[in-house]
């Protein structure tokens, strides 16, 4: 894809959370490397899926990209401008263009505010609209996400999980952003509601030309919604590719193991499904192993994997992977 279509370029992004000891004089004794040297592009209008198991840094990546957490190192270029360098009002101005939808529809809405106040707050902060116009815009937004505009004076506790998530989406859309981080927007919802919310997100993307960074751990849902998919393991992106290529011929052994866990809704195929069962636990992000982060559990780990951190390189056109084995195979072919 052409470079000028890149909306967000993430370069060597790191987010470490310090671990400190001592009450009065705190000593810095280490870091939880939640996001450790991650690079990827997000193209305008696409949905980039970000998958990985719990605690691998998906959410932190999403939050760091839109500067809810300030990165420890690295850059996030939004249309060429580095968000990591921005401060104060510049950053506040950029916030109009990027928004986030949260995972927990119960915690993400302030219980003391009415729906109107919640959805209207971004308009209020950026002084976009006031009074009657603001109210009309809020009603329009509620309608857009499939809620009755009469709900404007109600409080979040009067709504179901799916309805609350719609309120959260309406709030994210209030400022007409172009880029939205969807931080597991469906994982807290009932399965029957999940489809509704995903369809709403897809419909809105088509209608408003949105770009999504879609974080999830539901692999089939990610396959459904994403154009490209990035797989994370222990703070690093291990593989990034087109959706179909990733699901059909995953390169990284972790991706292979992850995908082998997905049940196939066809009893004949499902019968033949071979699960790759990984041994052991995910190492602590405060103390990642030497070399490849996956080397401790990788079924095909080699000597070099325990010593040298593999580079995240383009194996085929648009298919990136960080694995010594894959790289050596590619070199053998060429």
């Amino acid at each position: 894809m052409a470079n000028n279509n890149v909306l967000v370029r993430v370069e060597n992004l790191k987010k470490y959370f310090p671990i400190t000891r001592g009450i009065v004089f705190s000593r810095h004794v280490g870091d939880v490397k939640a996001v450790d040297d991650v690079s990827f592009n997000i193209y305008r209008g696409e949905t980039l899926g970000l998958v990985g198991e719990s605690g691998c840094g998906k959410t932190t990546t999403g939050r760091t990209v839109i500067q809810l957490y300030r990165p420890t190192a690295g850059h996030v270029y939004y249309e060429g401008e580095d968000l990591a360098e921005m401060r104060g009002s510049d950053l506040r101005h950029m916030r109009r263009r990027m928004q986030i939808i949260f995972q927990d529809p119960y915690a993400s809405l302030n219980p003391r505010l009415t729906v109107g106040a919640i959805v209207g707050e971004p308009l209020e902060i950026h002084r976009v609209l006031q009074g009657k116009e603001m109210r009309e815009r809020v009603e329009e937004l509620l309608q857009l996400v499939g809620l009755n505009p009469y709900f404007i004076n109600r409080y979040p506790h009067e709504f179901s999980g799916g309805q609350r998530q719609r309120i959260g989406i309406a709030r994210a859309l209030a400022l007409d952003p172009e880029f939205i981080v969807c931080d597991e927007p469906i994982s807290a919802l009932d399965v029957s509601i999940q489809a509704q919310v995903v369809n709403l997100l897809e419909e809105l993307q088509g209608r408003l030309g949105l770009t999504y960074l879609f974080i999830a751990h539901d692999l089939s849902m990610v396959r459904h919604i994403s154009d490209r998919v990035a797989v994370m393991y222990l703070g690093k992106v291990v593989e990034l590719s087109d959706r179909n290529r990733l699901y059909e011929e995953p390169l990284h052994p972790y991706t292979q193991a992850l995908l082998s866990a997905v049940p196939i809704p066809d009893p004949v195929v499902e019968e033949k499904r071979q699960r790759i069962i990984l041994e052991g636990d995910v190492p602590s992000p405060a103390n990642p192993p030497d070399g490849c982060n996956f080397s401790t559990r990788c079924p095909v780990a080699m000597e070099i994997c325990r010593e040298v951190d593999p580079e995240f390189v383009e194996i085929e056109d648009g298919h990136y992977c960080a694995c010594h084995l894959v790289e050596s195979q590619r070199q053998a072919v060429s």
Partner: protein, 337 residues
Amino acid sequence: MTASETVASTAVPERRKTAGVWADATYRLARNKAALLGGGLVLILTLSAIFASQLSPYSYSEQDRLQTDAMPAWMLSIFPTVRPYAKITSDFPLGADYVGRDLLSRLIFGAQISLSVAFVGPIIALLVGTVYGLISGFFGGRVDNVMMRIVDIMYAFPTMLLIILMMAFFRSTFAASQPGTFTHAMNALDRRFGGMLFIFIGIGITAWMGTARLARGQVLSLREQEFSLAARAMGAGNGRIIFRHLLPNVLGPLIITVTLAIPGYISTEAFLSFIGLGVNAPTPSWGSMISDGAQAIRTYPHQAILPALALSITMFAFNFLGDGLRDALDPRLRGVQ
């Protein structure tokens, strides 16, 4: 739980103002009989303290030397041992004290002292403590560390001793005799406040710390909640997040603790007045009245029992109100002490 929860799913939505959290709480409070009783008593006490000079039959300092220790006839049936020597009067509805002052009037004026303490404590606790705790919890890290260590140090202060020392120092004749000095100014100010200044200072120094800790703890968890992050993602500044998103969510528990602390302030004042360190005579305080009455508790028990009763009823009223507020604002805590 509440009826309003089911409303969202009903078929015909209509435009209406639904019950907010505060309206909900008011409704629950109004259905709690003990809290209503407590609230009613507090209201009556407050009104009688405000309109003390209109309500009371006499002034609190007016003496009738001929009627010292006099008591009304109906009291004899309650305290039969007094019968042989009692001086019966119909001038004073609740009798007179040892210098012939009307007990009822003194009780009504005494409410002024107790209630001013009851309101000054919470106001300081809410204003200072909440802001302190919000700032400490919100900014976290080093700021939080320093601010909370200050609270820890202040907690170690023996409040009662501090109040007593301040009174001993600033009320000495030495302090009063040198105009233009700080001690003299404090002495004058104390007399302006009718001897309440140091009690206010003492309560003010201690009252805010509990609230600050509570507010900080709440904020620490709330600021990581997704709605605070959402506000940040929208571009909200710190002030907006603190006062619009965090404060309303911590206010409930704060109001509860502050209300439940009121009986403590009242009893502090009563205790200090009882040991003679409270208000200046002849201003009546329930504590000093109990102290006066205690001198003659065998001969005239009503002189100590009446102010003690007023004190207990007031503390009960605030306790009931506080419990009711707790149940109303945080129904999950019902029955938890």
